[in-house]
């Protein structure tokens, strides 16, 4: 169930689009923000809320890479390995991160703290190599700088 704030937000969103199906992406974003991931129950809930078939919601959730059906770790580190980052050493960074955390891309540490993902271009090629943690971009990374980023996150 959505929080009262999110229900209010859904009503506001309805003003911006002529058809409720257009709310699928914005509402799935709200759901992911509130619940951390989008479970089957959440999809059913969104389907009912927007009067859209469940199969449609499932289709959308599985199409877009940013919607997660399973919860990620508390800190989700997304490392870009596309060309501009690759040319500037993203491979070394990813390897370093894998060794440091003992997990592979797509995995979460046993304590649920860290998830690593290898991602496509994030639009930060001028600051390559980079990673994103949540919405925060960390650019011009070296292994030392990455250590500092991780240390900073550990405190939270």
């Amino acid at each position: 169930m959505f929080s009262p704030e999110n229900l209010k937000r859904v009503e506001e969103l309805r003003q911006h689009y002529p058809h409720s199906q257009a709310l699928v992406l914005p509402v799935l974003w709200l759901a992911q923000e509130q619940f951390g991931s989008i479970s089957t129950e959440t999809m059913r809930y969104v389907a009912d809320l927007l009067r859209v078939p469940f199969s449609h919601i499932l289709g959308v959730v599985t199409f877009y890479t940013m919607f997660h059906q399973k919860p990620t770790g508390k800190h989700h580190i997304e490392v870009c390995t596309n060309i501009s980052c690759m040319l500037r050493g993203s491979g070394i960074l990813l390897q370093y991160l894998e060794q440091k955390l003992g997990i592979k891309p797509g995995e979460t540490t046993a304590d649920g703290e860290w998830t690593i993902s290898e991602v496509e271009c994030m639009g930060a090629c001028g600051g390559a190599p980079m990673c994103a943690v949540g919405e925060e971009y960390h650019e011009n990374l070296t292994t030392e700088k990455l250590d500092r980023v991780l240390a900073g996150l550990e405190k939270h």
């Binding site: 911006h16 709310l23 992406l25 877009y64 940013m66 919607f67 596309n82 271009c121 090629c125 001028g126």
Partner: protein, 422 residues
């Protein structure tokens, strides 16, 4: 050249500062003109789209029907996902009001009552910056109902993507706004006839729209004299890869690529030679370092050199770069991002990736080179949208221009095997 899109003015993202520097004057001026006059001004300016296709913007606007009972829409494309492209993010962060003002002018010119600014989901932080700026514009009565008492109304909505390169393709973008999977549509019908919810729609890139206020302020003649006559205006060039100072640089169109690399971006680290350059984002055909002399950042010059301006995301690769690894990574990207509707792209991009990864790991065969070319040729032009072409062009151009690299790799691999046999 004075910087127009990304000037150095401090705090320009704030509405007060933006207005103090002449912001929203272009919009006020446009409101005093007839809508057709605004479109005409943009048409005569020669502005061409900055999202990759270089299509004349004003001409696109004229495709919108004047007499229609349906609502009309504008989509501003800020999906920015082409590898090597990172320019629109600068506009969201440093000059969001320029984008909003351009959007308002475009809406007025085409009689549009709702504009959706579609921004890729990864830019969550920048979406908030844009939304803050938009809230200020609304508060000042510059957007919404009965703008500045003129009776003209238009809503601007920021729509957040969710991680799909294909949504930068205009028809996939519309489907995404409609709450669908990002599947491109068959054209025709074109968006101006049958776009969002079947209504007339225009789709323009963020940077394109951000040029519009300047055209209105200073006139089409002034704009048409900036840079290359057939592709005029300022352009944001993103330089990445092996350069000393990667970043987004604003310049007039038509600056030589070598000047961009050496003057703007500080040259190649260690003064190494340039082996290859991808001039306009990962889908544009690769150029050999030796052929860069005289090639400029405008549509004609780039076409003559056998490539394209694309999104002006210039990726520089020094003499030590493993181009097969680069191409394998590009192929992996297009395979990952193919939406899966069309067989040539869905299957072909996977084959390209597989063969190139095989090459990369030392298992490439001489016949693979022609097979890669054959697959790419069979994808190009045989799909609903241009993603298929975008996947094919890097492979075709890389093999055409660097066949020696592929053949060398095959030979290198052969030697140990032959020794083993002996």
């Amino acid at each position: 050249m004075e910087k127009l899109l990304l000037p150095d003015t401090k705090d320009l993202h704030k509405v007060d500062v933006y207005e103090a520097h002449g912001g929203y004057k272009a919009f006020r001026k446009a409101l005093g003109m007839k809508p057709e006059e605004v479109t005409d001004e943009v048409k005569k300016s020669g502005l061409r789209g900055r999202g990759g296709a270089c299509f004349p913007t004003g001409l696109k606007w004229t495709f919108m029907p004047k007499q229609t009972t349906k609502p009309k829409y504008l989509c501003v494309n800020g999906d920015e996902s082409e590898p090597g492209t990172f320019k629109d993010r600068q506009i969201f962060e440093f000059n969001p009001h320029l984008l909003i003002e351009g959007t308002l002018i475009a809406c007025y010119a085409m009689g549009i009552t709702t504009a959706y600014i579609y921004v890729r989901g990864e830019y969550g932080k920048w979406i908030r910056m844009l939304e803050r700026a938009l809230a200020d514009a609304y508060q000042r009565g510059l957007a919404g109902r009965n703008i500045l008492g003129t009776g003209f109304s238009t809503e601007i909505v920021v729509h957040k993507g969710a991680g799909a390169y294909i949504c930068g393709e205009e028809s996939a973008l519309m489907n995404s706004i409609e709450g669908e999977r990002g599947y491109p549509r068959v054209k025709p019908p074109f968006p101006a006839q049958y776009g969002l919810w079947g209504c007339p729609t225009t789709i323009n890139n963020v940077e394109t729209i951000s040029n519009v206020p300047w055209i209105i302020t200073n006139g089409w003649e002034w704009f048409s004299k900036i840079g290359s006559p057939k592709h005029p205006g300022p352009i944001l060039v993103g330089v990445s890869g092996h350069v000393n100072k990667p970043g987004v640089y604003e310049m007039p169109t038509g600056v030589p690529l070598l000047e961009i690399i050496h003057k703007y971006a500080g040259g190649v680290p260690g003064n190494k030679g340039i082996k290859a350059v991808i001039p306009g984002g990962s889908s544009t055909p690769v150029l050999r370092g030796e052929q860069l002399e005289g090639v400029c950042m405008d549509a004609d010059s780039m076409k003559a050199a056998g490539s394209a301006v694309g999104t002006a995301g210039l990726i520089v690769m020094d003499e030590d770069t493993d181009l097969i690894a680069v191409l394998a990574r590009i192929a992996e990207f297009y395979h990952h991002e193919s939406c899966g509707q069309c067989t040539p792209c869905r299957e072909g991009t996977g084959w390209l990736e597989k063969i190139l990864k095989r090459f990369q790991s030392g298992q490439g065969k001489q016949t693979d080179i022609d097979m890669l070319m054959d697959i790419a040729n069979n994808i190009e032009g045989n799909t609903i949208c241009a993603l298929g072409d975008a996947a094919a062009w890097p492979v075709q151009s890389m093999i055409r221009r660097f066949r020696d690299e592929f053949e060398k790799r095959v030979k290198l691999q052969r030697i140990p095997a032959e020794e083993e046999a002996a």
